[in-house]
């Protein structure tokens, strides 16, 4: 049992959101755990583990109002120091069309691949959008097994590159 909560904030991006939110949490005695912020489109998005006493909702509601954010707060079971180190990287690029992510990740999931990090973007131009996705994860399967699992996608114009990640400890 732990007292971590997952705080999610979404809104139009502008400078100073992280500073405003974390300062307010700090002043009320909340501490931060792992966090990931990303600008997606023109949107500010962050998910952060927070821990503290009491209910942070009233505080967060006033900041959300002030900064134009939507809030989501959930109790969670996971704590810190449970990192999994990825051993496989998958890079995907192809002309943008519906279903690329579902097809690639579906094939990988069936091969036992667990996604630990994923980010994707639409590059190219409005007329010729290109979908690009980078995934890191863990699998017991070999690179060759995973390549076989996604081999059918190449004919559909999706370039999937799979390589091992050897994490250097020094």
């Amino acid at each position: 049992m732990n007292d971590w909560k997952m705080l999610t904030l979404v809104g139009e991006d502008r400078p100073g959101i992280v500073a405003r939110v974390t300062d307010a949490l700090y002043r009320q005695g909340w501490t931060l755990g792992e966090a990931s912020m990303m600008r997606l489109g023109t949107n500010f998005t962050i998910m952060m583990m927070i821990s503290g006493e009491g209910d942070p909702q009233p505080l967060l509601a006033s900041i959300a109002e002030e900064m134009g954010l939507r809030i989501h707060l959930d109790p969670i079971t996971g704590g810190l120091h449970h990192h999994l180190v990825p051993n496989i990287r998958v890079r995907v690029a192809g002309a943008d069309r519906a279903g690329i992510v579902a097809q690639v990740t579906g094939a990988l999931a069936r091969a036992g691949f667990n996604i630990l990090e994923l980010d994707s973007d639409v590059a190219g131009s409005t007329e010729r959008p290109v979908y690009i996705m980078n995934v890191e994860g863990y699998a017991q399967a070999t690179v060759e097994d995973l390549e076989a699992a996604v081999s059918g996608l190449k004919e559909q114009g999706v370039d999937v590159g799979i390589c091992a990640i050897e994490t250097l400890i020094g």
């Binding site: 995907v92 980010d119 890191e136 050897e166 994490t167 250097l168 400890i169 020094g170």
Partner: protein, 179 residues
């Protein structure tokens, strides 16, 4: 021989610049034996640098013969006063460190390096390294200059990835320089 205590962040001594070795004696070789025993005692480390155990001399050990998937390597190397003389190419890779427990991050390193160093007895060595071994050596030499990999971590959205994706048959060894 003894397993030495590893300094971990935020110990300020990890920022200290180490001094060149000038005397190649039994005391040096005894220390290096302890440093090697310390490397082997921890989690599968391919390298260790003297300042990681609070000994501020320019000494590193690298052994990339132990990787899961074999990589080009020179086996077990003890390098005294290593100096990288030439760098070529850039490559992203994931690194962790005995001095930074429970954290790994992506770091840009040169793909190929040339270096010179001395061995345990003070004999001059010249080496060319590539890929994982070159990365390990750069990681360890950084320790001698008080730099940790966390000082070099880049975003997982780093441009190098995307540029590589565009290479038609671009594997992880593809250099981004021609884009």
């Amino acid at each position: 021989m003894a397993v030495l205590e590893i300094l971990t962040i935020p110990d300020a001594r990890l920022k200290q610049v180490s001094e060149p070795v000038e005397v190649y004696d039994d005391a040096l070789r005894a220390f290096i034996a302890d440093l090697e025993e310390t490397r082997r005692a921890g989690p599968a480390a391919v390298g260790i640098a003297a300042p990681q155990v609070g000994h501020f001399q320019r000494i590193v050990i690298v052994d990339c013969s132990i990787t899961r998937k074999p990589v080009p390597n020179h086996g077990h190397l003890v390098l005294v006063n290593p100096e990288i003389a030439d760098w070529d190419g850039f490559e992203l890779g994931r690194e962790g460190c005995l001095s930074v427990p429970d954290y790994t991050g992506t770091v840009i390193r040169a793909e190929r390096i040339k270096l010179h160093a001395r061995d345990l007895w003070g004999n001059r060595l010249e080496l060319a390294m590539e890929g994982f071994e070159a990365r390990a050596l750069q990681h360890e030499v950084d320790h001698l200059d008080g730099t940790l990999f966390i000082d070099r971590v880049v975003s997982r959205r780093t441009d190098l990835f995307r540029r590589k994706v565009y290479q038609p048959e671009g594997g992880p060894q593809e250099s981004p320089r021609r884009t």
